[in-house]
């Protein structure tokens, strides 16, 4: 559905994205993961025909984004990052405007706008000015305008940024429901979001493609880190930990109370965990805490980037 080949974009001297290639299958939700300034928005703007690439080509639904821009734009729904909307319009008027401008026949405009308001839960605010509605509703209006003409491809730039946890959950559910019917690309810098929503994830950093993988694989790779809090003699614990097979390395970490804290990195979790268990039992120490460490995006980046350089 989407093919991107050797895409490069320069802003003057600055190279925003550098030789990026990937494809997205029909009905797939692809996550676009990267820190701020990685080039996520630039790729999305090229895909939505906002500007052309410096080099390379992007094809959406069989049409070239540069040469056949109008045909691409007919088939996409786009939610830009800061959700720019016409503040002086009412929600319902705005969605009718977008429906019409996207080529909905005049007779259908009202029906389509009403349907998308219903789907996105905008019934309560339909008569309000966009400038007066809350951030969560704004985001939904943004998604609603992207969905209004039932596009084949949806491009959502950081759809959950700036929302409260309840709203984030609602928007995520909304996006999940889109899978299958629509092809979705969404960008984010929040790792769990990708694991929840996306079938596949692309990681970019400083304009370069770092990895393309399933989200489980990315997280599992670094989920082999665990935090331990053990009540016992620190020197002995350290000596014992060093001897357990399956543990690659460990370091001391701050821990509350009198217990000692460690961050343990496994190279084989299946052997390492029973090793820790038997160590505790053997020495009759008290295991106060043992939990897998949340993988941060940072960790994955560091891992992937260093792997690439090595």
């Amino acid at each position: 559905m989407i093919e991107v080949e050797n895409l490069t974009k320069d802003y003057g001297e600055f190279r925003a994205i550098d030789n990026i290639s990937f494809t997205v299958e029909k009905g797939e939700i692809l996550g676009f993961l990267g820190p701020n300034g990685a080039g996520k928005t630039t790729v999305m703007r090229i895909l939505t025909c906002f500007f052309p690439p410096t080099e390379g080509k992007a094809v959406v639904a069989g049409f070239n984004c540069f040469e056949d821009s109008l045909n691409v734009r007919k088939r996409i729904g786009y939610l830009p990052q800061r959700v720019p909307l016409y503040e002086d319009m009412k929600v319902s008027d705005y969605l009718r405007f977008v429906a019409a401008i996207k080529g909905t026949p005049a007779k259908e405009v009202n029906r389509k706008a009403a349907k998308v308001m219903d789907d996105c839960g905008l019934g309560d605010v339909s008569g309000k000015l966009i400038s007066t509605i809350s951030g969560g509703y704004r985001q939904r209006v943004g998604i609603a305008q992207a969905l209004v003409n039932d596009p084949e491809v949806l491009i959502l730039d950081e759809p959950t940024v700036g929302l409260d946890p309840k709203q984030i959950k609602e928007i995520r559910n909304l996006i999940k429901d889109l899978a299958g019917k629509h092809t979705v690309i969404l960008s984010t810098h929040i790792l769990p979001e990708v694991s929840i929503l996306c079938g596949r994830v692309i990681i970019i950093n400083k304009g370069k493609l770092v990895a393309v993988d399933r989200p489980e694989n990315l997280t599992s790779e670094s989920s082999r880190r665990m935090f331990l809090r053990i009540n016992g003699n620190a020197q002995m614990i350290e000596r014992e930990l060093a001897g357990i097979s399956g543990i690659k390395e460990f370091e001391t970490a701050q821990a509350s109370g009198e217990a000692n804290g460690y961050i343990v990195v496994f190279d084989d979790e299946k052997r390492g965990r029973p090793g820790i268990q038997s160590m505790i039992e053997k020495n009759n120490w008290e295991l106060m805490e043992m939990r897998p460490l949340e993988t941060s995006l940072e960790d994955i980046f560091i891992k992937l980037v260093t792997k690439e350089e090595a």
């Binding site: 939505t48 500007f51 109008l70 786009y78 830009p80 016409y86 503040e87 008027d93 996207k102």
Partner: protein, 260 residues
């Protein structure tokens, strides 16, 4: 070009114009200023008329006391200059605001040609201008009721006002496409419009050939004959070329934004 898309953009822009205070304030100020000129011209005319009843010399001096020459023609001259002053305030938001708020990103990724966007916005502003100009019709209507002016110069004078306003809008929409700052856009329009207005002042200072070129370029030279009741195709063509040129430049400016 797609008429339906132009209409949709036009509708949205009009709704936006008339839901903000700006347009009402601009129209109010425009009417106050033009009304002031009208009142003064008419008051002078009636005072002089009374005096002329007893003083035939004065009557001859005062261009034989023709209401078209002494009230209507100067009135059109003043209205045209006030129009030039007010149009930047109407055009400055057209693109600059969309750039500032980021809505341009959605607008340009909707399946609409740039030319439809530009024309839709241009026509919306033209509708506001026509409203403004139409409201000044109360002045000549009063004159027709109270006096006996020639109607043809009034009609062609209005044609002139609409053309000069339409030209000013095309320049304003262009400067609005250059920046995301509305004040910058308005200042540039003011500057350029005043240049096109004052350019004829240099005519006596330069050679005859260049003088002709300068006075041809001047935006207000071309309404002079229209407000006398003479429709010269040269004047109409000047304004149409002016409009097409700046709409074309606006389109180019949108395109280069895409390339940057």
């Amino acid at each position: 070009m797609n008429i339906r898309n132009i209409g949709i953009i036009l509708g949205r822009e009009l709704r936006s114009y008339f839901s903000s205070l700006t347009v009402y304030v601009v129209i109010l100020m425009f009417l106050l200023m033009t009304g002031y000129f009208f009142y003064n011209l008419l008051a002078t005319f009636s005072v002089v008329s009374f005096q002329a009843q007893t003083d035939p010399m004065l009557a001859r001096q005062y261009q034989l006391l023709n209401i078209n020459e002494t009230v209507i023609r100067p009135l059109f001259g003043s209205i045209s200059i006030i129009l030039l002053m007010m149009t930047p305030l109407l055009t400055m938001r057209l693109f600059a605001e969309e750039k500032k708020t980021g809505t341009i990103e959605l607008l340009l990724t909707f399946p609409v040609n740039d030319v439809d966007v530009v024309l839709g916005k241009y026509l919306a502003c033209l509708v506001v201008l026509l409203t403004m100009v139409a409201l000044t019709a109360t002045y000549p209507i009063l004159l027709v009721i109270l006096g006996d002016p020639e109607v043809v110069p009034i009609a062609t004078g209005y044609l002139g006002l609409i053309l000069i306003g339409a030209a000013a809008i095309s320049l304003g929409i262009f400067t609005s496409s250059l920046t995301e700052n509305q004040i910058v856009s308005a200042s540039m329009s003011f500057g350029m419009l005043f240049f096109f207005w004052l350019i004829s002042y240099s005519v006596p200072l330069v050679s005859a050939g260049l003088g002709q070129v300068l006075s041809y370029l001047s935006i207000n030279e071309h309404i002079a004959s229209l407000s006398k009741g003479v429709v010269d195709s040269e004047d109409i063509i000047y304004y149409l070329c002016f409009i097409v040129l700046f709409l074309f430049l606006t389109l180019r400016s949108l395109e280069t934004k895409r390339w940057r």
